[in-house]
């Protein structure tokens, strides 16, 4: 399955407006979560807002603006800005915020006098990310938006891979996008999983997550199509697998049942063993439950020496965008040959028995995994490979 090449990458988050800025922030180990400025709040939780981006397409919804910003970078990276529609192009994107009409002003007006703001309805109907992008590009392949909570971006990449494997398209634009929403901010606060400090993934004294926003986009392409276009892709999407915990709506399975199944499945599908994996980009939200479950599964499958980090320490938990961003960061780790230190980590948690990277680390491996554990119990894993 090495015939699915990754030919374009695009990323916007609090870590940077593009890949170059993001890598610079990773190298400096810099992050700066703040109290939100996008809405006024009395809650103390910090968040990772995007301060610098510009959508090339005029759309109202912030999630869709972020999406276009990252798509533009990815298409330019893959040299596809001009001739995209020479090919059958699939579009698969994950989101949480864009699927819902979570507009407080709209609903307040409705409650007051039953009035419906039609402009908000129109905006809602036109803000399904994949449908919006496909219409804009006038693409002629399959289109789907994934609403699978925190694994949406990863699952969207998995679907795109499936389409390519079944010859339903030649190229696929995939990943995820989400904006920082006041509703989600309050919702996660109510679950007692948010932190008023900068998040500390896998740390013994971690106090919870910080929400973030952004968009992470991959261009996937059949290798022969990429080569015909004169591209020389080094990276491939080797595999994807997903499994449900079948346990609880908000808590992960205590033994990480679904995550273990997903990781073992994807390794088997790729013909790889745990020893082949150079590093893991973890889901690592910095909640007590997630990091304990995920860390224990890593130790069990990969052993105590496995290298892993959570880039949510730089971006916050970007929900529907997370899987897309983290796939991009996994590609970058392989391509650039280094990973940053895991932000906020100071002391190992004895319940986990593993530490993420504590310094910027050089790597020369060929394979890496990105994991996502969703609200609702879905667990997904991607394997990315690099030619050396």
């Amino acid at each position: 399955m090495r015939d699915i090449a990754i030919t374009g990458l695009g990323a916007v988050s609090a870590a940077g407006r593009d890949i170059a800025q993001t890598l610079a922030a990773f190298k400096r180990g810099e992050r700066n979560p703040q109290k939100p400025s996008l809405f006024s709040t009395d809650l103390p939780y910090l968040a990772f807002e995007v301060n610098d981006f510009s959508s090339p397409v005029m759309v109202e919804m912030r999630t869709i603006q972020l999406m276009y910003h990252a798509v533009e970078e990815a298409l330019a990276c893959g040299d596809l800005k001009e001739n995209l529609n020479d090919f059958r192009v699939g579009v698969c994107l994950g989101t949480t915020v864009a699927c819902q009409l979570n507009d407080i002003d709209f609903y307040r007006a409705y409650r007051q006098n039953g009035s419906i703001d039609e402009t908000k309805i129109t905006r809602y109907r036109s803000s399904n990310p994949a449908e919006n992008l496909a219409a804009h590009l006038k693409s002629n392949g399959p289109v789907l938006t994934v609403a699978n909570a925190c694994s949406s971006g990863t699952d969207a990449i998995g679907i795109a891979r499936t389409w390519l494997s079944r010859d339903m398209c030649d190229i696929a634009i995939c990943g995820g996008a989400d904006e920082l929403s006041h509703v989600a901010y309050c919702g996660f606060g109510s679950l007692s999983v948010s932190s008023a400090e900068a998040c500390r993934p896998f740390d013994c004294n971690r106090k919870g997550l910080n929400l973030g926003e952004g968009a992470g986009i991959l261009i996937l392409e059949k290798k022969e199509i990429a080569q015909k276009r004169g591209q020389k892709p080094l990276l491939s999407l080797l595999g994807y697998a997903s499994s449900a915990d079948a346990y609880h709506l908000t808590a992960p399975h205590p033994e990480g049942k679904g995550l273990k199944l997903a990781i073992n499945k994807v390794l088997k599908n790729c013909g790889l063993t745990a020893e082949d994996i150079s590093f893991i980009n973890a889901h690592g939200t910095a909640t007590r439950d997630n990091d304990r479950t995920e860390g224990k599964v890593f130790k069990e499958i990969f052993g105590p020496k496995i290298k892993f980090i959570s880039t949510k320490g730089f971006t916050g938990h970007t929900l529907g965008a997370a899987g897309g961003l983290e796939a991009v960061f996994t590609c970058l780790g392989l391509r650039e040959g280094w990973l940053p230190k895991n932000p906020g980590f100071e002391k190992e948690d004895p319940e986990i028995g593993l530490s993420p990277l504590t310094t910027l680390t050089q790597l020369n491996g060929r394979y890496a995994i990105s994991t996502s554990l969703a609200f609702g119990g879905n667990n997904s894993a991607l394997v990315i490979g690099m030619e050396r």
Partner: protein, 93 residues
């Protein structure tokens, strides 16, 4: 004084049981049938982690109480009695 405290606790326990049944969708359970020493989590009422954070919100809404750390929650939420005691000692509303 002791009489007063006992009266207050009785009233808190009653309100608590009503809140639990109404807000945690405890089907087929009547507030008056919940024992004072009923264990809330695991056995007894069989509540789970989502109920725990819902109770945190109920305490905030109805008694002005904030549970800052969920690990302190384990002791407070042991039974109707321990929860009522906590409310009595700390309530602002």
């Amino acid at each position: 004084m002791h009489q007063e405290k006992e009266e207050k606790l009785k009233s808190i326990r009653k309100k608590l049981k009503e809140l639990l049944v109404a807000n945690l969708s405890l089907e087929g359970v009547k507030p008056e049938n919940i024992k004072d020493d009923e264990i809330l989590f695991g056995e007894g009422l069989g509540l789970d982690s989502l109920d725990a954070v819902e109770i945190v919100v109920l305490l905030q809404r109805n008694f002005g109480l904030e549970v800052k750390d969920m690990s302190e929650g384990k002791k407070i939420f042991y039974s109707v009695n321990t929860l009522a005691e906590y409310i009595y000692e700390n309530a602002k509303k």
